[in-house]
Symmetry: C2
Subunit: 480 residues, 2 copies
C-alpha cells in the first residue's frame, strides 16, 4: 500500500497546488452564491455543497507530506492560506510550521490560539521547538517549558541559547550512543530493541560512562564486521566533530568537503552534547545563499509573496534608503561641476558611461574577492599579487573599452580632446574600482564584519561619485 | 592511531595552508640562493637542504585529505601550485582532480602527461571519470575506455551522455541491491560478505531478477527488525525515485524537502540504473548558488583567483560589454535632451537619482519574482495579484521618496516646479520598474529561458534609459 503522506516530486507537488487552487475557487463560488442569496452564516456552514468541498480539500491535504503542505501554504494569498491552514489536522501543525518560510510562519501563528500552539509543539523535538521559539508568544513558550521533562528542558534551554549562525543552532539531540568495550553482537541486540533509528543515523557515537566522545561507529561497519568483534576495534577514533559555539559555516564546509551525513557535537570537555545532520546543513546552505542573494538585490529578508504592501515596503526600505543616500552624494558631486556641464553639455550624456563601467567592474572584483575570502583562500601573502592582477585587468579594460568609447565620443561630438578625456576617465575609474574592490572586503573583514553584506552598495557608491568626479574634473581641467 | 588522511576543520586546513606557504617560501629562498651562486641545475637537485625541504612538504601533503590538498592548490599562485602538484602521490591525483574547481583543474591537467592522466582515472569510479571527462584530452579518454570492463564502459558512456544539469549527471553506480523474497538474516549475511558499504548507503535497493525497482530497505530497518522477517515485509514500496533525464534541480528540491540521504534512479521501464546521494546534491546546490551569484555580478564563470590577466579579462568581458551597450543607449537618451540640460543644468545633477531608485527597486521586485518562480509558486491565477501588489508598493515608495527628494530639489535649486517634476519622475520610474520587474522574468520563462540570467541587467537598462527619458521629458514639457 502506498504511504498516505508519500513524498512527491516537484511536478506532482505543483499539480497538487493546482488542485487545491481549483477546489478553493469552487469553495469561493459557493460562498459568494450563498452570500448573494443572503443566507445566514450557520446555514452556509450547514450547506451540503460547502461541506463536500471542504471535505475534498481536507482529503487532498491529508495525502500530502508536511513539506508539501508548507509549499502550498506559501503559494496562497493570505485568505486562502488561512482556509487551508484550518483544514490541516492538528497533529501535523508542528511539522508544517517548521517547514514554511519565516515570513509565512508569522501569518500562520498569528491565526492560532495559544493552546493550539502548545499542542503543535508537542509532536516536535526540543531542537525543533527551539527553531520555532523566536516566533512564539512568551506565554506559549512558558507553557511548553512546563510540559517538558527536566532533560528536555535542559536541551531546549541550551538550543535556544545558541546564536542563529552557530553549530548549536543546527544541532539536534537524537543520537544513538554505545560503549567501546562491548561486542557488535551486543550493539545489534541493543539496536533491535529500538523501534526505529533516528533519521540520518549513519553512525553510532561511542562514549564512555561520563558521555565523553571516544569515536564513531558507522552503521556499515556494524553490518559488515564479525559480530564477535569489539566496538573499540571497529570504530573510528579520530573523527570530525564540532563545538556548539563554532560558526555554522564551518560545519557546512566540512560536510561538503568530506561528504558527511552526521557528525557529533561535543562541549569543551569532549562530552557529547548533540549531533549535526546533513539535512540541517542542506537547509542552512540554501538559506545562506538565499539571504546573500536577497541582500545583494536590496531585500532585507525573505518576503512572503503575498505580504501586505506595507510589510513588503518595510522589507525593502533599508537598502533603498542606503542607495538613495549614495545617489544623493553622487548628485552633489555633479552639482559641483554644473558650470562645466553648462558650457559643454556632452558631459552630461557621457558621464553615466564612466560611472557605469566602474560599478560593473568593481562588482566583478568584489564578488571574486568575497568568494575567495569565504573559502579562506586569501592570506596576507597573496593579497598583493591579487591587487596587482586586478589593477592589470582594469588597465587592460580601460585601454580596450576606453578606446572604443573614446572613439564614439570623438565621432559623436566631433572633438578629439573629449574622446581622450573619456578614455582617461574610464581607465582611471576602472582602476579606482579595482583598488576599492580589493580593499573594501579586506577592510570589512579586518573590522570583523561580513564582507558580503553591503560591499556591493559601497563599491557602486564609490565608482558613481568617483566616476562623475574624475570625468567632470578632467573635462574641466583640459577641455574648458 | 589517528587516520593519516584525517578530515580537518576549516581552521586547521587554513593552518596547513600557512605551513605549506612557509615551506614553499623556504624552498624558493634556497632556489634563489643556488641561482645566485650559479650552481647548475643538477647540483641544485642534489643539494641536501633542497631535498629536505621538499620531503617535509611531501610529508605534510600526505597527511592531508584529498579535499584539503585541493583547497591548498586553489589558494596557490600557478608556479607554487605546480610544485605542490608534482609532490602529490600519483594514487591520489584522481581524487584531488575531482575536488578542485573547474578553473584550477585545467591548470593541473595541462601540466600532466597523458599516461599520468590515464593512471589518475584508474582509482576513480565511472561516474567520477565522467565528471573529469570534459577536461581530458581526447586520446586520454580513449585510453581510459580501453582499460575498463564492458559494464564499466557502458556506465561511463551513459554517465557522459547526460547533460550537466540532469539527474544523470549527479548519479553514481554504487548501489547495494537485495531481493524482496529473502529474510533480513540473509541480507545481514550478504552484507557481511562485503568489505565495506559504499559511502552514503542509508538504504538498500530492492529489485527483482530483471533489476526492476520494487522498493527500498533502510539500513535502520535491517538493524531493528527481527532477522526472520522478509525484506518485502519491512521495505518501503513507494519511494522517491528519479529518472536520469530529469532536471537536477528537481532532485535537489526533493532531497531538501524530504531530508533524503540517497535515492534510486530508474529508467522508463522502472529498471534500477543508479542512485543519487546527498553528497552530489550538496555539491550541486553550492555550485548552482555560486554560479547564480557570479552571473549576477557579471562574471561568466568561476575564476581561478590566480588566473592570468588575459583569462580573467575574457571571463568578465561578456557582461561588461552588455552593460556598456545599455549604458551607451542611456547616454543617447540623455543626448536627445541636451538642449534642455543646457538651459537647466540642475537636470544633469538630479537625473541619476531618478534612474538609480528605479534600478534598485526593479531589482528588488525581480529577485522576489525569480525566487518565487524557482519554487513554482507563481501560477497564472496569482500573477495579477502580484503585479497589483508591486505597483502599490512602487506608488507608496514614489510618494515617500519622491516627496523627500522633491523637497531637496526644491530647496537646492529654489524651484517648486522642479521639485514636483522630480517627484513625478521618481514615482513613474518606480512604476516602470515594478511593471517590468514582474513582466521580464515571466516573459523569459514563457520563452523557455532561465529568468535568473540577465534579468537584472535588463531591468537596470530599462530603468536607466526610462528614468532619464521620463525625468528629462517631464522637465522639457513643464519647466522649459
Amino acid at each position: 500500500m502506498a504511504d498516505l503522506e508519500e513524498p512527491k516530486l516537484e511536478e506532482d507537488v505543483q499539480e497538487s497546488l493546482r488542485q487545491v487552487l481549483a477546489l478553493l475557487s469552487k469553495h469561493r463560488i459557493v460562498e459568494q452564491l450563498v452570500h448573494k442569496q443572503d443566507m445566514r452564516r450557520h446555514e452556509l456552514v450547514e450547506s451540503l455543497v460547502h461541506k463536500q468541498n471542504l471535505a475534498e480539500l481536507q482529503k487532498k491535504l491529508d495525502e500530502l507530506h508536511p513539506a508539501d503542505v508548507a509549499y502550498i501554504l506559501e503559494a496562497l494569498p493570505l485568505e486562502d492560506r488561512l482556509i487551508i491552514w484550518s483544514l490541516v489536522k492538528a497533529d501535523r501543525d508542528g511539522d508544517i510550521l517548521l517547514a514554511v518560510s519565516d515570513a509565512v510562519r508569522g501569518t500562520l501563528i498569528a491565526d492560532m490560539e495559544p493552546e493550539e500552539l502548545v499542542a503543535a509543539t508537542e509532536q516536535l523535538d526540543t531542537d525543533e521547538i527551539a527553531d520555532l521559539a523566536p516566533d512564539l508568544p512568551e506565554e506559549v513558550i512558558e507553557d511548553v517549558f512546563q510540559s517538558l521533562s527536566t532533560e528536555e528542558r535542559e536541551q531546549l534551554r541550551a538550543a535556544m541559547s545558541y546564536p542563529e549562525d552557530s553549530v548549536g543552532a543546527l544541532m539536534d539531540f537524537e543520537m544513538v550512543t554505545v560503549r567501546e568495550d562491548v561486542s557488535l553482537e551486543v550493539v545489534l541486540r541493543y539496536l533491535r530493541r529500538l523501534d526505529e533509528l533516528p533519521d540520518h543515523t549513519d553512525q553510532l557515537f561511542v562514549v564512555d560512562r561520563a558521555e565523553i566522545l571516544k569515536g564513531v561507529l558507522p552503521l556499515g561497519r556494524v553490518l559488515v564486521n564479525d559480530p564477535d568483534r569489539l566496538v573499540s576495534e571497529v570504530m573510528t577514533a579520530e573523527t570530525v566533530h564540532f563545538e556548539p559555539g563554532q560558526r555554522a559555516e564551518l560545519a557546512a564546509q566540512a560536510f561538503e568537503r568530506y561528504d558527511l551525513v552526521s557528525a557529533p557535537v561535543v562541549d569543551d570537555r569532549s562530552k557529547l552534547v548533540g549531533r549535526v545532520t546533513v539535512a540541517a546543513v542542506v537547509d542552512y546552505i540554501r538559506e545562506e545563499s538565499d539571504s546573500e542573494m536577497l541582500n545583494l538585490a536590496g531585500l532585507r529578508e525573505e518576503e512572503d509573496i503575498f505580504a501586505s504592501v506595507w510589510n513588503s515596503a518595510k522589507n525593502r526600505w533599508t537598502w533603498l534608503a542606503v542607495n538613495l543616500v549614495t545617489a544623493f552624494i553622487a548628485s552633489r558631486v555633479i552639482g559641483i561641476f554644473e558650470g562645466s556641464i553648462e558650457r559643454l553639455v556632452a558631459l552630461a550624456a557621457l558621464m553615466p558611461i564612466v560611472a557605469g563601467i566602474g560599478g560593473n567592474s568593481g562588482n566583478q572584483t568584489i564578488t571574486m574577492i568575497v568568494r575567495a575570502m569565504a573559502l579562506g583562500q586569501i592570506q596576507r601573502a597573496n593579497a598583493k599579487a591579487l591587487l596587482k592582477k586586478e589593477l592589470a585587468i582594469s588597465l587592460l579594460n580601460g585601454v580596450v573599452w576606453g578606446t572604443i568609447f573614446g572613439f564614439f565620443a570623438t565621432v559623436l561630438y566631433d572633438s578629439i580632446p573629449l574622446g581622450l578625456v573619456m578614455m582617461a576617465a574610464m581607465t582611471l575609474n576602472l582602476m579606482v574600482a579595482a583598488l576599492f574592490g580589493v580593499f573594501i572586503p579586506m577592510l570589512m573583514q579586518r573590522f570583523g564584519r561580513d564582507p558580503a553584506v553591503g560591499s556591493s552598495v559601497l563599491i557602486t557608491a564609490i565608482t558613481d561619485s568617483g566616476g562623475f568626479f574624475i570625468f567632470l574634473g578632467l573635462a574641466t581641467l583640459f577641455l574648458l
